[in-house]
Amino acid sequence: MKYSYYPGCTLKNKAKDLDAYARASARALGFELEEIENWQCCGGVYPLGSDEIASKLSSVRALNEAKEKGQDLVTLCSACHHVIKRVNDDMKNVEDIRTKANNYMQLDEPYAGETKVLHFLEVLRDEIGFDKLKEKVVNPLTGKKIGAYYGCLLLRPGKILEFDNPENPKILEDFIRAIGAEPVIYPYRNECCGGYISLKEKDMAKNMCNNIVDSADGFGAEMLITACPLCMYNLKKSTDEKLPVKYFTELLAEALGVKEEVDKA
């Protein structure tokens, strides 16, 4: 199975791990991530201005490229996924944005939200299947107590992201079970880490992140996993690394026995 893949800027810099482990795991699981050509930054934040078109165009280009190849578009970074999925929804359902974006783009065939956008975790759940993933695990992380940290970008707005139940999600917990570890449910797993506020109001971000980490720790988590580079940054920076925080792809690679080859490279 071949997917168009949108890595995003952070995965080329700060979050190289997130990307490298994902690619290696994909190979081990028998699917291919084909990086789309000439992708541009998604903007990092979904533009809420309803008359804002320019900052949505890079997403539309990526979506259209996947459409032309006839592939689903896979994302990995929570922020990129959030922006691209929401822009795709706009292109499908908001006539004004669709018309303006297409007028600007002058594509051979207008783009109207045809591409299916999948987060890497959704590929694991819906395309591969967690039961199949479990069968491919060679190095189960037995006994590890892991807290899933969702953050907000993957879950909300629930009706557009359609990722999981925003108030009581389970996809990461199911993932943790599939790689042989034990999920720790704690109430702050779907709370915001503070996002970009950590640049302006450090104390607020600190407070938010400590709530998350203390709660996970209190319920017995030994580590947290996330899909979001910004969450990773905040959770580490604001809490003096009380609890190890890892990308879920690192644990996936480890369970599939491909972590070392990535680390060596």
């Binding site: 108030e167 009581n168 449910i185 109430p187 709660s215 209190g218």
Partner: protein, 662 residues
Amino acid sequence: MQRIGVFVCHCGSNIAATVDVKKVAEWALKEPGVVHAEDYPYMCSEAGQSKIQAAIKEKNLTGVVVCSCSPRMHETTFREAAERAGINPYMVEIANIREHCSWIHKDMEEATKKAVILMRAAVAKVNLNTPLKPGESRVTKRALVIGGGIAGIQTALDIAEAGYKVDIVEKTPSIGGRMSQLDKTFPTLDCSACILTPKMVEVNKHENVNIYTYSEVEKVSGFVGDFTVDIRKKARSVDMDKCTGCGVCQEKCPSKKTPSEFNRALNTRTAIYTPFAQAIPNVPVIDREACIKFKTGKCGICEKVCQAGAIKYDQEDEIITEKYGAIVVATGFDMIKLDNYDEYAYSQSKDVITSLELERIMNAAGPTKGHLERLSDGKAPKEMVFIQCVGSRCSDDRGKSYCSKICCMYTAKHAMLIRDKYPDVNVTVFYIDVRTPGKNFDEFYRRAVEDYGVNYIKGQVGKVIPQPDGKLLVRGVDLIDNKQILKEADMVVLAAAIEPNKDVRKIATMLTASIDTNNFLTEAHAKLRPVESPTAGIFLSGVCQGPKDIPETVSQAGAAAVKAIGLLAKDKLMTNPCTAKPDELMCNGCSQCANVCPYGAISYEVKEINDHGVRETRRVASVNSALCQGCGACTVTCPSGAMDLQGFSNRQILAEVDAICR
């Protein structure tokens, strides 16, 4: 040619402010057949009706058109007035120039034009009207009440007291309903069981009442005054005549793990069970899904210990067919499922409960024997938080748009009872608005605040956060102080919205009674006929019609009973003469009309037809006018145009269309 009178009503300013009523009357005189036209401020008043009657006599009218409000409002009024003046009531037609015109338009010129067109259509129809004569049908002097909660019990008692036979069909093993699950009742704080169980006993003992518990309505046919109903009496596996209600079977039953429906799954029950101690009838049922004997063939302990020999494993469902003149729906309500409200941690924490669960916890016969304690660790709580409007007054599709009406009062009740019995427990209530209209209701709420020190906070809760130490952190907002609130609690109680019983859709379909988007049964008129369904002979009692507390439910139950009694008191009913009638010469016996008839009113007979001198034996449609409800489905289906609806013939309807398009 008809001699038609047109009467244009002002309805005060309801019509006259938007429609030039004088002009409508003037234009009416230009219509064929119209010999008289006038306008009047209130045509439905005594004086207005007299004008119609006077005109009928003076101008020798044969038909009448009243341009006024909806025919649902006053068609009967005007038809009866005309009949008293000596013309057939079916020679009167209404042009609805209020709901269909003045109320929905602003421009006088346009609205007047439309009113004239509606008047013309009605005149065109009356020109083709023929006198119709209603038939008669008999009334079975027996009522059916569906649901054995307080609503059904009260309705049944009132009908029975008036001297008519009543059957109650209750799907659970006992009557009593939701009220039997409650601990205390507002605003007087008397014990629910103490006021309910005497009524349960009374209804059970009443010579005119027959109760089918563990039974469901399976099929309904017929019409007002003459319904035929199939009731499925589910196999109880216990002989009701032999069982003495000693309870030994329940003590000895080894299958003890089924969640108790009565205690909202807070504890378990045995496979053979009566839902609660005061159950009526005091005869257990065997839950075959849970029973070891039914699952594996082994066990049979209850049969061995039953001294009365009442256990009957081979009992089968029984279908009882009975005739009724009136049917009262009293199917009640349930709490909504809280799947859409995971932010309140209901599924994550045992110490987050619903208000109905709290009723069971507070009740001496409940799972904690009436002790207020946390279900997670059995510890006594020190801080309790109540969250109102969970799923009520909701603006998106997660919950219900309506106010559940009872929650403000029962929350005040819970808060007060807890403060009274456990003065060291602090109670906080988060609310959107406190709504306590009702006799002695606001005084009750104020007592909770002023005398019992309950802390009311105006604002909603965003999240309930279970803490590692077992406490709950409640994150909400105080809208008056305009600040976020973080409050630690030992227990959180959710006032979940109420919704109609899940089975109501099925029952409404069987009864052809209409329901609204929230699955509440619709009343015939929101203000003037609140306990009657638009379907004749079907009456509404209790929460199946809309959220209600106990006093309101009991009042409405009585009102529904009176309406049912009014029907049962009649020996005969006039039937609607607007029924389908086939033209036997045109009918080719194809059966298509019978296939679409929702009332099973069409059958076929083979008879000799004289077709313009040619005698032939043909298969032709025949309508049972007692069953026909005049819906018209057959008339539009009939490929040869043989079927016509009296009072709404194809010619009449086309004449109306022509008049509108003219």
